[in-house]
């Protein structure tokens, strides 16, 4: 017998939803349906002709899917091409190159940040009790987190321009080789791993590098996988890094930014621009559809850490 005074359904044994709960349910339902309709509208508009869009701005195009204006995507693909000043020469950048740049930026930045973050957090956890430096690394990062930086862009511009890294892939390699990115989560995850296997390996004569790469790295793969996944989604959408630091290596997201904010592009029609936006959206939605539980779970864990 349920001893709580909370009302439960006799049939299912589930807690009965109070009136306010049903009110919130209705709100959430409307909110979520609106989100789905909104994205659906975006897709529908992207496969309309300009005439169809101006005639009916809400619904889907008339006719069967193969009759829709798929050529908008082809046009967007062509109109996305942009010219940038690279090493003093006006260079044409195609959509394919932009996708390549965005992928290169995403993978390079993620690789560099994990390359610095995971091993440093590993030594900090493993040698936590043995060396003060191991404790200092973590504490220092934690303290630095609370010292905000304002107006640092000026100094950063000067630094990277003087180092010759501004507007080059060296910027990504250097700036993202940072162990501070996600350090709390990595530290917490590694602290939760058992040390028994590494102790056994030590007795068998394994050295520090073996233990790190052959025992702890495979054990950390679920965490690294999650970090790579969430970082990829944010890097794929990132246009600001290209805007500020890599203006002559535009990615697809920066391309969309230029496409929407420039009046000189000649592609001012909503249908063409929306087709461009959809090209950016599809990979993200596909990844989210497959990994939504992991991504949401990962975000929840990150916040609680």
């Amino acid at each position: 017998m349920d001893t709580t005074k909370r009302r439960r359904s006799r049939k299912t044994g589930r807690e009965k939803v109070p009136f306010i709960g049903w009110f919130l349910f209705a709100y959430l339902l409307i909110h979520c349906v609106a989100i789905i309709l909104y994205f659906s509208w975006g897709f529908g508009a992207s496969v309309k002709t300009n005439y169809e869009f101006m005639k009916d701005m809400v619904g889907y195009p008339e006719g069967l899917p193969w009759d829709w204006a798929w050529e908008n995507y082809k046009k967007a693909f062509e109109l996305f091409n942009m010219k940038v000043l690279r090493d003093g020469i006006l260079t044409k950048v195609t959509v394919v190159e932009m996708i390549g740049n965005q992928l290169l930026y995403a993978f390079l930045s993620i690789f560099m940040s994990r390359l610095a973050n995971w091993p440093v957090m590993y030594v900090s956890v493993v040698f936590w009790k043995k060396f003060k430096l191991a404790r200092f690394i973590y504490t220092f990062l934690y303290v630095m987190m609370f010292i905000p930086t304002y107006g640092a862009m000026a100094s950063a511009f000067l630094l990277y321009k003087k180092l010759g890294m501004y507007d080059s892939w060296w910027y990504v390699i250097f700036a993202y080789f940072s162990f501070g990115d996600g350090f709390i989560l990595t530290h917490a995850y590694l602290s939760g791993l058992s040390s028994e296997m590494s102790e056994a390996a030590k007795i068998d004569g394994a050295n520090n590098l073996d233990i790190m790469l052959r025992i702890y790295l495979p054990l950390s793969m679920p965490l690294i996988g999650l970090q790579v996944l969430t970082a990829f989604l944010s890097r794929w959408n990132d246009y600001e890094t290209m805007l500020y630091w890599l203006p002559s290596y535009p990615g697809i997201s920066y391309g969309v930014y230029k496409f929407t904010t420039s009046t000189a592009t000649g592609a001012s029609w909503p249908t063409i621009q929306l087709a461009g936006g959809m090209m950016l959206l599809v990979p993200v939605l596909a990844i989210f559809a497959v990994f939504s539980k992991k991504i949401i779970g990962g975000v929840t864990v990150s916040v609680s850490k």
Partner: protein, 304 residues
Amino acid sequence: MIENKKKKGGMSAATRRDFLFMLAIFILPAIQYAIETVWIKIDTIILAFNNYTGDIDDGYRTFAGFYNIKEVLDFMFNDSLFLLMLKNNFLRWIVPLPLTFFEIIITYYMFRKFPGTSVFRTIMYIPMMTGAMASVLMSKFFVSFTLPSILGLKEGLLNDTTSAFWTLLIYGKLFALGGSILGQLAVMNSTDQSTLEAGQLDGVGFFGELWHIVLPKSYKFIFLGIISGIGSIFTSEGGLIPYYGTNAPTDLWGIGYYTQIGILEAEPSKYPYYAAFGVVQAIVLVPLSNGLRALMNKVGPSED
């Protein structure tokens, strides 16, 4: 095991090996961190008190005393643009604030795992995933063409600056809802189950449980959001860059937009001014946010 013997006054060979291994792993990222984070923070302060002459390659700095700080303060106290940006950012912070309570109630609905929680949570997070540019593109045309056609309006909502301001504010808040709920949910999930069960035995209702059991555990996180929001009065760019690039109407500007766009288009000689701007922002914000954080630790809902 001769090699593991501890030398007089030193460390054993094994300990030394461990230490060297740790150092080898740590040294390169430490250099990067010292340059990329620590040095840039320090240099921002130095740059604020310098003049910069010439180009990046052959430019040089000279000590300028408080000249740049005075320039910034002069702009803040005598230029109406600063007041306008401050007002815009204040509205961006204060108007959605009452919605925080609604957010908490929705989060609590999900915390109690009422019907549809999992599906709602996933769908509400989609806009967070899609990123700024694709979302902005859609919203730009939606509020400029489709929504006015549904509502029977003659003009697009981004056509005049007043409606554009409110449209961007409401749109931003609605689309960010999924992310803030997820954050609050993570904190609510840390509520002690035994306290919850004890509350249930006492017959505590929906709001009673939220106020007396769940909120005392999570109000710090919620207040942290409010505190960082106060900071945004002095730093927010108002989400204008993806919509307008560098050409946003001045009436919509936020302080962050002024500094970000300014630095992007500035000559190196103007860099010290923007560094000084950052220093003044820090002088205002660091005591403010730390003071509020201290206050938050003293005041708040208590567990009865």
